[in-house]
Amino acid sequence: MSLLQPIALFFLLTLPLIALFYMLRVQRQDVIVSSLLLWRELKEEASERLTWRPPVRNVLLILQLIIAALLAFALARPAMLGAARPQKNVVYLVDASGSMQATDIRPSRFAEAKNRVRAAVSALNTDDTATVIRVADRPTIMGAGSDKQLLLKAIDDMAPGVGGADMKTALTIAKSLSRSGLANEIEIYSDGGITGVEEVPEIPAAIKFNLIGQESFNIGVTSVSARPLVAGGSRCEGFARVVNYGDRDAQVPLSATVDGSPIEQRILQLPARGQTDLWFDLPAGARLLEVKINPGDALPLDDVGQALCPRARQVEAMLFSDAPSTLQTALGLLPNVKLATSQTGQYTPGRQADLYIFEGMVPERLPQAAGNLLIIGPRSGGALLNLLGQSTGGLTVTRTDAGGEAASVLLAGIDAGAIQLGRIARIDVPEWGRSIADTEEGPLVVVGETGGRRVVVLTFDLDQATLPQKLQFPLLIANCVRWLLPDPIPATVAPAQALVFQPFAGVNEIVVERPTGETETFATRGESITYTRTEQLGRYRVYQRNGTWIASEEQFVVGPLPAQESRIRPNNELVFNTVDPGVVGLRSSLGQEIWPLLALLGLGLLGVEWWWFYCKR
């Protein structure tokens, strides 16, 4: 046994103090006699002015001394020494993939894994350490150290996922901990539906694999999709795949709905380890296709699949040019751009469009609508620019700045060195913008945001530059349109896949509504938002807004469960590449602290003392 806080034995000094106090304080017991007639005359010789008495045998004194000794000893934190053994530094890898939500082990495989890890952590000695890693598509360290309470809370905070389990990366993390001496044991809690573990070489730790799972029978909807029948058309066709992973044939009820309305109900005949592909003609205007089965198996998570019919986002563009052919050709190559053309003299601020293209002019009054602006070869400053004049010809691009999102989009695929320019408009770079390409006589490409709209200014004159004759010109125009009008969100997203939301001009908030109805709000001043919380299967809605003005409303679906997660057959035949970690110094491990026992004993004796003093008297 060892004392963790030996200095607490200082409190044993209270024992002689208690005895001294007892000796100085005479306690007399009351005894009732019939009469003091005979005792009174003995009073003088019977009484004694006691200033002290030797601590005679007294039950209360003995009890109090024992209690004080027990408490002093408990404060010194005695601990039973365990057998000499290496200190345990364990890494617990908990599979949080979708298959771990199977309910063949009640309440679920994942809950069972947590329970086992919790028990393992509770059994660790005081000086052992542990690291708990949740292994999903992205492994996450939930907690580390020797504080059991923190580790147990970290385990409780773990939630299952709907994606895969990147056990290879998790093992790599554990391996690095082992190499740095922070881990000598690795325990994996999984159903074995993991791959790539054999690719992690030379793990210097003992690996213990805890298989969780019994059932292998499962039928799941492994794929659901919808695509336009005709490119750009409004009618879609749907597709679904149902797979039987079991060893026996099965009949499975299936229902398909479009926007909540049933379109098909039937009984699927599935052979053992077979699959069935289904096609659905979706009505015009259909948005959400949902396919649901009811096989009554251990994994209900893959019994539903959803898909959204993609909608091409049509861009309304207004071109104001006196010689529009070049731009018409470039813009006509973009499938989602609906172009209307007018002479520059016919411009009015009231014309509605998502994108305004001005060639050779900058209007004095900008459009009333919040559409973005593409200005090419301005011959006047108008309401936006400070025009300094026109340059001479023979210019080249002297500098490009590819830093930042705008530059990376606008200059993607552009060989600036190949551009030969004629006359350009010389402008001051406005406060709202910055130049991402310069010539000898000033900026060539200026980008920025002003008045709630994005603006791109190409200062070169189309007639004077060689660019329009090159293939790079349509690319440049497409890049401009892409930056001025962000890409739509994909209709279907895999579980745990990250998304990037590009805000429209004038948007300061992006709101995401999850399948459960919970909403999340992200503030933006034009920068993109990376969204990673796609661990729930189902339909998400994304709103871009500024106050009450809704700039856009889009949807996407997360799912279905990855096919490999529907395969819930437990797998115990994994190969790990371990190496001998080498000689590890042995030291006695501190086992169980026994102060609670001592404190309980002291409390019991306190009760005995109370009983002796009050009841027995």
Partner: protein, 304 residues
Amino acid sequence: MVWGRITRRAPERRSSAFDEEFIRKLERLALVTRRTGGWLAGDHATRRQGSSLEFADHRNYAQGDDFRRVDWHVYGRLDELFLRLTEAKEAVTLHVLLDTSRSMDWGEPNKLGYARRIAAALAYVALASSDRVTVARLGTTVEQFMAPVQGKAHALGVLRFLDEPGNAAQTDLNAALDRYAMSRRGHGIAVLISDLLSPGGIEAGLRRLAGRGFDVLVLHVLAPGELTPELEGYLRLVDQETGETIEINPTGTVLAAYRRRLDDWLTDVQAICRRVSANYVQFETSMPFEDAFLHLLHRRRVLA
């Protein structure tokens, strides 16, 4: 009422000290007493004329005497008229004076309970012998008393009176005996049953009682805890009557001194009794009650 079958009643306040077994004991004691000639040393005889059948003497007939008392057998022999004289029996009153102060309600066995039994036995035996019995409870004065009764029919009432709890807080036997003596005529036997732990002493009261013509008998009841106290440790003795306390450390020396003091006190008490011509008998409550009563009977015969 038929003796030997007692009608039981539910206890009103507390369990009675006098149960059926005790009553049977009293019957046996009464029988023994009568066979031995009565505990009061025989019936008191008087030469006064009485109407009993016991022949006492003859005397010459005088004019006016009752002709029915003429002894005609003597006339037949002597041709002279003589009156036949008989002995007149005088009923004795037994005064049972029971100390019911709080000092009596102490001890293991309890002195008051023991004293009640002694008093009950005395009263019962006397009533069985056709003597009159009166009972009084003493404290600092005569706390309560009952009118004299005669005959066994009143035995239950006497027992009931003795069974009632006393309410005397403290003891002043001198005052109590003095009061009792002055309120009664001096006939009979006064039996004082007490622990005699009266701070003012007992001599004046006993002297008054004897002076009033009572034949005084003192039954001194003490508990074993008073005769040989078993005390140890650092104690605070509390007087049960007054609440007064003293602190003592009952070492062997102190206890030996107490026993000496006790012996001296007992000697003084006996001397007082002799001075006032009172009989003295000491009882320890550990002695079985029947043995105690027979011992009393024996002592009484010796003294008589």
